[in-house]
């Protein structure tokens, strides 16, 4: 099964029964499969007139009770930024899948890149936090799509699922466990009565409880700055309280959200930090360097946002340098540098996209770093 199809199966396994999409290479296979599969499991798919519509239709679906997602690639992702902001502000749990291709603009429709990583974090206006996961195999496209939905439900936040063209089109064995072995986070639905319920009341927990249209709560949802009732209240005081909570609900849970794979970092001189498809090329370079007797550790980011700064800070105290290959000209490496705080060197192995790195390019950087 390829990564695009595995992502679709992951969404179905996570309980997604509604998707709104707009065709775009190299992501379309996800919704093509969804359109084929969902009518037999009880749900529906709609192909909207553009990505602006797709990215808000899915949120209408969520407020009507569904788990929902949309799928796109760079140019469509740009159009969806408006509604990533809306999902953040209204705390609509949903998943945006971006199968990254080369940009800017139409760029390389059929070829890989990892150049939307900063856009995933900062693309919509205003101050906010989101969660972004980066799979590096079709198996992870399945597993982590479920994780993406679970995070989105737990924190009521849009989760960016940052695939790339190679991971999306790569075919590998994907093990789909029996349904009862798949952990699915249910919607954080309120148990409160209509009289006691406050749409954005938090009761100390930073994530409010949700209700759906048609349940009798007569609640209000707005993209404007709002108080606990969900009513517009455009004062600096309410803005301060709301935006800080939206950010803090993610930041305070960073330890749980930041997933990574770590190998031999304890006695490493150099740690290669990578993510997505690039981590598989990096693995080859790490193996080559180790065969040459170099002490090289590996840190593979599974969660890109929030960035695992704490982990990097800790590693920076005992490694000489970090090497970071990316299919862009330096995006996540800025975070790496910031987190390393000058305690360890950071070396970027840039690549403008269109193919993956050659392992030798990463190896050369490792060799330079140990020097």
């Amino acid at each position: 099964m390829d990564g695009d199809h595995a992502c679709c199966e992951g969404a179905l396994a996570a309980g997604a029964r509604f998707a709104a999409g707009y065709p775009i290479t190299p992501s379309t296979e996800v919704v093509e499969r969804f359109a084929q599969r969902v009518p037999v499991v009880g749900g529906c798919f709609i192909q909207m007139e553009d990505e602006l519509a797709a990215s808000i239709a899915l949120q209408g679906g969520v407020w009507a009770g569904a788990k929902a997602f949309t799928v796109t690639s760079g140019p469509g992702f740009s159009l969806m930024m408006e509604h990533i902001g809306y999902a953040v502000m209204t705390e609509t749990p949903c998943v945006f899948v971006d199968v990254q291709r080369g940009g800017p603009s139409t760029g390389l429709p059929t070829l890989p890149a990892q150049a939307d990583m900063m856009q995933a974090r900062w693309g919509s206006h205003g101050d906010y936090e989101i969660i972004a996961l980066v799979p590096n195999s079709p198996q992870e496209c399945f597993d982590l799509t479920i994780q993406a939905f679970n995070f989105s439900e737990e924190f009521r936040v849009p989760v960016m699922f940052m695939m790339d063209e190679v991971v999306g089109h790569m075919t590998e064995k994907v093990v789909i466990p029996p349904a009862d072995q798949i952990e699915v986070t249910p919607r954080k639905h309120t148990h409160k009565s209509v009289e006691d319920y406050l749409a954005y009341g938090t009761n100390g927990d930073m994530v409010p409880e949700m209700v759906h249209a048609g349940e009798g709560y007569k609640f209000h949802v707005t993209g404007l700055t709002h108080d606990e009732r969900g009513y517009p209240n455009m004062t600096p005081k309410v803005q301060h309280k709301l935006v800080n909570r939206l950010v803090d609900k993610i930041r305070s849970a960073e330890d749980r959200i930041c997933l990574y794979e770590e190998d031999s970092t304890d006695d490493a001189d150099v740690v290669v930090v990578s993510y997505g498809i690039t981590s598989r090329v990096a693995q080859r370079a790490i193996d080559m360097a180790r065969a040459d007797g170099l002490r090289v550790g590996k840190l593979r980011l599974i969660t890109a946002w929030p960035f695992p700064a704490k982990k990097i800070k800790e590693l920076a105290t005992h490694v000489k340098a970090f090497v970071m290959p990316e299919l862009n000209l330096g995006q996540m490496v800025r975070e790496l540098e910031r987190a390393a705080g000058g305690k360890a060197k950071t070396l970027l192995v840039p690549h403008a996209g269109g193919s993956v790195h050659q392992p030798e390019e990463i190896l050369a950087a490792i060799q330079e770093a140990v020097r």
Partner: protein
Amino acid sequence: MTTLINPTPVPAPGNPVEPFLRSDRMPHIWCPGCGIGTTVNCFAQALIESKINLKTLALVSGIGCTGRVAGYVKLDSFHTTHGRAIPFATGMKMANPNLNVVVYSGDGDLSAIGGNHLIHAARRNVDLKVICVNNLIYAMTGGQTAPTTPGHATTSTSPYGTFEPAFNLPHLVEAAGAVYVARWTTFHVKQLARSIAEAFNKKGFSFIEVISPCPTLYQRRNKLGDGLDTMKYYKEKSKTKHGCPTSELGLTLSGEIIVGKFVDRDRPDYGSLLKAQMHESLGDKYVDYDEEQGYACGEDGGCEEDSCH
């Protein structure tokens, strides 16, 4: 000695539409003479008249003066992004077809930035009731030219007069596929309420345009008087022509306004087409999600079964 009997207190006659409004959000933001409040009154009257189940009624707005309606009605109400009320509402209707979904927004929101969504929802015949308050201008942002602004009108971005041809909205949505199309002004309160109630009984994409004054930015700048003068204009210059070809409904700065019900036809709506196609192609394998009610609540969801839909 006489015994005084306490009379049963007679409740003060309340405003009949008050139960439909979020009184705790008053006063509203609309200017004196603005027509949007009048349309909300008509909408509430239509809710009373049609005896529609309020529990399953959701209202979706975009951005702008009319976009604020969602914040004042005591319903499940969603104030979305600029131009996107229709696709949001489409998603709601698809995920839970048992909801009655009303889109309530302005001319700029629905026909400019949201124009693409408007025609596609009409083409699909999504079962939405669209109420479009047309004040012929962008009001919230200070009176700029809209796609509906008639020729020669002065606006803040057309200081020397508008020269762009304007959209004739009933004509546009009829061509795109709407099954119910009507137009009234804020002078025609009874007719408007009746039209809205009628649209509730219609399955498919319904579009009601309400011509409404913006005394602050449109009437004042074009020396058309105040709110009351505009009512007089609507009264004198409106002509009811039910069934009038929508191609004849273009508006001018101070000319005739043709009002009435222009389109009332039947065509299967999106949801019915979807189900029919799935049944035809998949037979017994098709799982009718709306009867399943499987995913509206998580397994730990707090809602009781009867309150789900």
